[in-house]
C-alpha cells in the first residue's frame, strides 16, 4: 500500500551515521564487547542488527554473535488484528545464557512488540541483561517500556506512521513520516 509521505526524516547518509552512533553507544555502555550479543527483531530490526554488528566489527575488530527473532507467535493480537500472520523462523545460533543481549528494532511505538520479543527471547534461555535499541522512538507507549538506545526520537500523532526503508528489502535506505492508512482514506487527508 502506498501512503502519502509527509517528510523524509532520515536519508541514506543519516541512517548510516545513526547506526554508527548506536554502535558506539552500545560499546560505550557495555565497556567493550565481552558477553555482548545482538539480536534483531524481524524483519527490519534483523537487518539493523546486521549493520550494527558490522559497525562494531569496524570499530573493535570483533564479530559479535548475531541472532534474529520472530515474535509473531508471542503477539497478543493473534485473534484480533493480525488474524493469521505468516510466521518466520527465529534464528539464534548461540547460547544466550549469561549474555548481555542488545535487542534491536526499527520503530518503538506501543511497546507490545518489545514485550513479545522479551518473552520470545526468554524461551531461548536466561540472559544476564537485555538492553533495547531502536532506530526510531515515535512515542504512544501502551506498556512501561523504555529503550536504552534511540537513533532518533520522532514524536508523532496517531494519524501518522513511521516507515523505515532498508536496502535489504526496500531498495533504499531512509526513514519516512507517512500518513496512517485510516487518515489517508479520508477524502481531505
Amino acid at each position: 500500500m502506498t501512503r502519502k509521505v509527509k517528510a523524509k526524516i532520515i536519508d541514506e547518509k543519516g541512517l548510516k551515521r545513526t547506526i554508527t552512533r548506536l554502535a558506539h553507544e552500545i560499546l560505550e555502555r557495555n565497556r567493550g564487547t565481552e558477553k555482548l550479543a545482538i539480536v534483531g527483531i524481524r524483519t527490519r530490526g534483523a537487518y539493523l542488527a546486521q549493520r550494527v554488528i558490522k559497525e562494531i566489527k569496524n570499530i573493535e575488530g570483533i564479530s559479535l554473535p548475531l541472532g534474529a527473532l520472530d515474535i509473531t507467535l508471542y503477539r497478543d493480537d493473534f485473534r484480533q488484528r493480525l488474524k493469521q500472520p505468516v510466521v518466520q523462523q527465529s534464528d539464534i545460533p548461540f547460547d544466550i545464557d549469561e549474555k548481555n543481549i542488545v535487542l534491536i528494532d526499527d520503530v518503538l511505538y506501543t511497546g507490545r512488540t518489545t514485550r513479545a520479543a522479551l518473552e520470545a527471547l526468554m524461551s531461548f534461555g536466561r540472559p544476564e541483561r537485555i538492553q533495547l535499541a531502536v532506530l526510531v522512538d515515535r512515542g504512544h507507549r501502551q506498556l512501561p517500556i523504555k529503550p536504552d538506545y534511540v537513533g532518533k526520537n520522532i514524536p508523532t500523532s496517531i494519524g501518522e506512521e513511521i516507515q523505515v526503508k532498508m536496502k535489504e528489502v526496500d531498495d533504499e535506505d531512509c526513514v519516512l513520516l507517512v500518513e496512517s492508512p485510516d487518515e489517508s482514506e479520508t477524502p481531505d487527508a
Binding site: 507467535l73 493473534f78 485473534r79 493469521q84 518466520q88 524461551s123 534461555g125
Partner: protein
C-alpha cells in the same frame, strides 16, 4: 498467503498452495520445538477437546503435545471413560462440548464422515484425526514434511504405498496430498486390498512388490488392519509377508536408494522387516513422529486465528 479454512477434514480439496503453507508453517514450529523452552503463548485462552472414539497413541499424544506447546487448554475424551459407554450419541456429546464453549475439536472416529457431521453440530473448528477408512490429513501432512526434509522437494518424487490400501485412511490422504503436490504415487497390495475407485486416483497400481520398489524413491508401508477386516483378504499373514513384506533382500535386489516410511504402529515382520524399520539408512519412521507435533501445531495455529472477513 492467508489460510482461510475453518476446518481440516481431509486433503482431497486442499490446494498445493495451502499444503505448502502448512508445511512452511510447520518448519517454523520445528524451530520452536528445538528451543530450550519449546512453548509459545499463541493459543493461550483457547480450549481444545480431543475426541478420540478409537484407540490411538501417536496421534493423540502428538495432538495433545502440540496443543500444550501452543498454550491451549485441553480436554481429553476417550470412549472407555465417557458417557458413550452409557449410550450417548456423537451429536449429544458434541452439543455438550459446544455448551462448554470449546474452540476447537480434534476427532478420531471409526465412522467415515464423523468429523464432517460434527461441523454441523458445533461452531468451533474441527480437525479430522482419522475417520474410519476415509482420511487422516495430518498424518499425510507430516509424511509430506518428512519427505520434504529429506529430498527438499515433492514434485516428481515417486512414492509407493504398499499394504492394506483398502482400509487405510493414511493412504487416501497421502494419495490426495502427494498427487496435488506433483509426486507420482503407486499403490501395491493384493488385488483384494486395492479399492474399486483406485483407478480414478491418478496412481499406478502394482500387485508385485518388487515392481513397486523398482518404481519408487520412497516406500510407505502400511499396517495390515486386522481390526477393520470383515473377511479374509489373503490366506495367512505368513503368505502376505512372503509376497508383500518389505525386506532387506528386496531392497538389495532393487539396488537403489530407498526411503522407508510407516505411519505406525508397525506389525514387525509382517508388512516390514524389523531390522529395516530400525535402520536409519532407510527408515525415517521416527522423524515422522517428530514432525507430527510440528504439523499439528501448524494446523492448530492456522485454524486458531480469526477467519478473514
Amino acid at each position: 498467503m492467508s489460510f482461510k479454512r475453518k476446518h481440516l477434514l481431509g486433503l482431497e480439496d486442499v490446494s498445493a498452495e495451502e499444503i505448502t503453507h502448512i508445511l512452511n508453517t510447520a518448519e517454523t514450529f520445528k524451530e520452536v520445538l528445538a528451543r530450550p523452552i519449546p512453548k509459545v503463548p499463541t493459543l493461550r485462552g483457547k480450549t481444545i477437546v480431543n475426541l478420540f472414539y478409537e484407540a490411538s497413541t501417536r496421534t493423540r499424544f502428538s495432538f495433545e503435545l502440540a496443543e500444550k506447546r501452543l498454550s491451549a487448554d485441553t480436554l481429553n475424551f476417550s470412549t472407555s471413560t465417557s458417557s458413550v459407554k452409557k449410550g450417548e450419541s456423537l451429536r449429544d456429546t458434541a452439543q455438550n462440548i459446544e455448551a462448554m464453549k470449546v474452540d476447537m475439536v480434534v476427532i478420531r472416529h471409526s465412522a467415515p464422515g464423523a468429523p464432517h457431521y460434527l461441523t454441523q453440530c458445533i461452531k468451533g473448528s474441527v480437525i479430522n484425526a482419522g475417520d474410519g477408512c476415509h482420511e487422516h490429513p495430518t498424518q499425510a501432512l507430516l509424511d509430506m514434511l518428512t519427505i520434504r526434509d529429506k529430498y527438499k522437494y515433492l514434485k516428481g518424487l515417486r512414492v509407493a504405498i504398499i499394504g492394506d490400501i483398502l482400509h487405510s485412511r493414511v493412504a487416501r490422504s497421502n494419495i490426495y496430498g502427494l498427487t496435488t503436490m506433483g509426486a507420482e504415487v503407486a499403490l501395491c497390495a493384493p488385488q483384494t486390498m486395492i479399492p474399486y475407485e483406485a483407478e480414478k486416483w491418478n496412481v499406478r497400481i502394482f500387485n508385485d512388490v518388487d515392481e513397486a520398489i523398482a518404481f519408487a524413491d520412497i516406500v510407505m508401508a502400511l499396517r495390515i488392519q486386522m481390526e477393520r477386516q470383515t473377511q479374509n483378504f489373503f490366506p495367512t499373514l505368513r503368505e502376505y509377508h512372503n509376497y508383500f513384506g518389505i525386506t532387506k533382500e528386496r531392497l538389495d535386489r532393487a539396488n537403489k536408494k530407498i526411503t522407508i516410511m510407516h505411519p505406525g504402529p508397525i506389525n514387525r515382520g509382517i508388512e516390514l522387516d524389523s531390522d529395516l524399520a530400525d535402520d536409519d539408512r532407510y527408515s525415517v519412521i521416527l522423524n515422522q513422529v517428530t514432525n507430527g507435533v510440528a504439523i499439528r501445531m501448524a494446523v492448530l495455529y492456522l485454524l486458531g486465528g480469526e477467519l478473514q472477513e
